[in-house]
């Protein structure tokens, strides 16, 4: 066991001597958290909408007033009056405006006659996020305009009352769980995978192999050291990310304990997976080439950016065996919901089993000779 601790001591001395690994492992997740957290999941504001009024009747004025109220309140879009429908369509096509509303001739008369009055909406659907937001806002406006001035005494339509059990979660908070897992992955990839292969190539392992250290001591020493580095990265990003995103759950001792368990399980799972992949690799280029591929393959299908339910079936299978999925689910359960042990027990079970299972397979594959 003392020899295993010697390996851990060597790795940790190097780790603390050079803070670069810690900085590098946290730089990408923090940048991602700040940029994606603010860039995605927000409301669209300031979209340009052309309005062509070919009716000029009182109902058209009512619709345009509703548009103006949107422009000065939630500001999803601002309107620009157009006289020519063709010009408005052309400007949508060329991107001068994001959408065009066409109020056709006889619109007011049809409204009064209850004769299927229609407003045209021309959108640039190459940008589905923008066109979806404008369509949704326009539909709300039309629904509001359609409401009768005097409501029926008996409501004929079914209404949905939505109860949100948690306060509004900004996208940055949603993204934090993925960022923590990503920081730990990078720490394992650089501090475990790349340094391990670099040490092999530099002959450091040759130095170990001429000592009486056993295969198990060497494997455990390398993996425990890798897991400690990932735990430190995970703890650092949990604290920094929670403060940046405004999550107060880290001040609850119980939640902190569960977060620590998740960080530990994730470290063991990531480290075991990385060791299994690198155990027979000698070329230092391999982990560098795999870095981006693995990041895409494991991070994005895990539900870090968008829900797993959105994926096609084949992608969901990756999520099922991906340790990122369980780590991120667990972090979300504690950070966003403070859900307690019950909400993370399956995640913890998977992460620990996956980690130790990978090490169990990797250890016999590790060569005690050159």
């Amino acid at each position: 066991m003392n020899r295993m601790f010697a390996i851990i001591e060597r790795e940790m001395r190097k780790f603390f001597r050079s803070p670069m690994l810690m900085i590098m492992s946290m730089m990408l997740p923090i940048v991602q958290l700040v940029i994606l957290g603010h860039a995605l999941g927000g409301h669209i504001t300031g979209a340009r909408v052309a309005v062509v009024d070919e009716d000029r009747g009182p109902q058209a004025v009512k619709v345009k007033e509703a548009f103006d109220s949107v422009a000065v309140n939630i500001a999803t879009f601002k309107t620009t009056p157009y006289n020519d429908e063709q010009q408005a369509r052309e400007d949508v096509r060329t991107g001068k405006v994001d959408a065009a509303v066409i109020i056709p001739p006889q619109f007011s008369r049809r409204v009064y006659a209850k004769d299927a009055a229609r407003i045209g909406l021309v959108v640039d659907n190459t940008d589905q996020i923008m066109s979806g937001a404008i369509e949704s806002e326009m539909q709300s406006l039309v629904d509001a305009v359609n409401q009768p001035v005097i409501q029926d005494r008996i409501v004929k339509n079914i209404a949905l009352r939505i109860v949100e059990i948690y306060p509004y979660v900004e996208y940055m908070k949603y993204l934090l769980s993925g960022s923590i897992a990503l920081a730990m992955y990078i720490s394992v990839m650089i501090g475990g995978g790349m340094l391990y292969i670099d040490d092999k190539a530099r002959g450091v392992h040759e130095g170990y192999l001429v000592t009486p250290i056993s295969k198990l001591e060497l494997v455990m020493g390398l993996n425990v050291a890798g897991a400690i580095k990932a735990v430190l990265s995970g703890i650092s990003l949990t604290i920094i990310g929670s403060l940046m995103a405004g999550l107060g759950v880290i001040f609850h001792p119980g939640a902190l304990f569960y977060l620590f368990l998740l960080i530990l399980g994730t470290s063991i799972a990531f480290n075991g997976m990385m060791f299994l992949m690198m155990v027979r690799v000698d070329d230092p280029l391999v982990p560098r080439a795999m870095f981006g591929v693995l990041n895409t393959l494991l991070f994005f299908p895990s539900g870090a950016i968008s829900p797993v339910a959105q994926f096609p079936n084949w992608l969901r299978w990756i999520a099922v065996i991906d340790p990122f999925t369980y780590a991120i689910h667990g972090f979300k359960a504690i950070l966003l919901k403070d859900g307690g042990f019950v909400s993370i027990q399956m995640d913890l079970a998977f992460l620990f089993l996956f980690g130790f299972g990978s090490l169990f397979i990797a250890t016999p594959l590790f060569k005690r000779t050159l």
Binding site: R3, R13, G203, Y208, P212
Partner: protein, 343 residues
């Protein structure tokens, strides 16, 4: 000193290293072809040969780094295949590359290795102080390894290999990449260590001078075979002629080979390009006189002439049919001819 090499039950003196018909095969390629030799206790034994001769493969088999295909190697009486940990406890190994951690200090590197060898806590600091003193790095114990020069880093590697008091020391090309001054410093250090610690050393080298100055006995290895074995003096004496006369004639002439061989006391003549000949003779001064007279009589001009004692280079040429330094140069690059200059 731990790990005596005389641990046999019958009390008989046992060789520190005994290699019997050892073979290493990679697929169909045979890197080491049935080599046998013994290294006595307290001896510095050199494996001399060009790059790719199989020296490092041999040392790696003896230090348990690579599996043996067939044959047997006993180190301090322990079989490297059957008792690898017993072997590892008794040996110190200096690999060819500088592998100490650059981010750690000199002392930290030694602490880690002392722990890897399970040196007891009470003895650890004493051993580290002693080896730092032995390699003259005491002043640098707190320096980060990356701040050390190449020679100092090599000394640190030597200290690292000694931190657990081994009885047998393996060094794989210990002075490769060092400048001449650092190289001589390492030689002196190894000689001192051998005396003060009664170490048995096995080193590989492709430097003739290193083998000549350091080694009690030398094995010449070529293409995986052991082609010669003996003390430097024995090896030199095994080559016909005790002196080498190197002569270069102004003009190349096919008849020179026969003329030189016909001189008295000449045992062999080796021809190289550009009118250059190496004449092995048992009487250097006599042959030189004859050679000058012969050239004068034939009105041929000698552009250079030198007389030397037989070197290990001659031994290598004698046993392998080519020069060691040629092998090294060929393995790296071939110089293109300079324009307008005759080779």
């Amino acid at each position: 000193m731990s790990g005596s090499a005389t641990s046999s039950g019958n009390g008989a003196m046992r060789a520190a290293i005994k290699v019997e018909n050892i073979v290493k095969r990679y697929g169909t390629f045979e890197a080491v072809k049935g080599v046998s030799f013994e290294v006595a206790n307290g001896e510095i034994f050199g494996l001399l040969g060009p790059n790719g001769a199989g020296k490092s493969t041999l040392i790696r088999m003896m230090t348990t780094l690579i599996p043996v295909t067939s044959g047997r190697a006993l180190v301090a009486g322990h079989d490297v295949v059957k008792e690898p940990n017993a072997v590892r406890n008794l040996i110190g190994v200096i690999p060819q590359a500088l592998t100490s951690d650059q981010d750690l200090t000199v002392e930290e590197n030694l602490i880690i290795y002392a722990k890897l060898y399970s040196v007891p806590r009470a003895k650890r600091q004493k051993n580290i102080d002693a080896v730092l003193e032995a390699v003259d790095l005491s002043k640098w114990r707190d320096a980060q390894t990356k701040t050390l020069s190449g020679g100092m880093r090599r000394r640190l590697e030597i200290a690292r290999g000694l931190v657990h008091d081994p009885s047998i020391f393996f060094l794989d090309e210990p002075t490769t990449g060092l400048d001449p001054v650092s190289r001589i410093a390492v030689w002196e250090m190894l000689n001192n260590l051998k005396k003060s610690r009664n170490l048995t050393m096995l080193l590989t080298t492709h430097y003739m001078e290193e083998a000549d100055r350091l080694c009690d006995r030398i094995a010449i290895v070529d293409h995986g075979n052991l082609v010669a074995l003996g003390t430097p003096i024995e090896l030199k004496q095994s080559v016909p002629g005790s002196n080498v006369v190197e002569v270069r004639f102004d003009r190349e002439n096919e008849q020179w080979m026969a003329r030189l061989k016909a001189l008295a006391d000449v045992t062999d003549v080796q021809s190289q390009s550009g009118g250059f000949y190496r004449v092995l003779t048992s009487n250097g001064s006599q042959t030189t006189t004859q050679l000058v007279e012969l050239a004068a009589g034939l009105r041929e001009q000698i552009t250079s002439l030198s007389v030397q004692n037989t070197s290990l280079d001659d031994v290598f040429v004698h046993y392998t049919g080519r020069q060691l330094r040629d092998e090294q140069v060929k393995s790296v690059f071939t110089m293109p001819p300079r324009p307008g200059v005759q080779p």
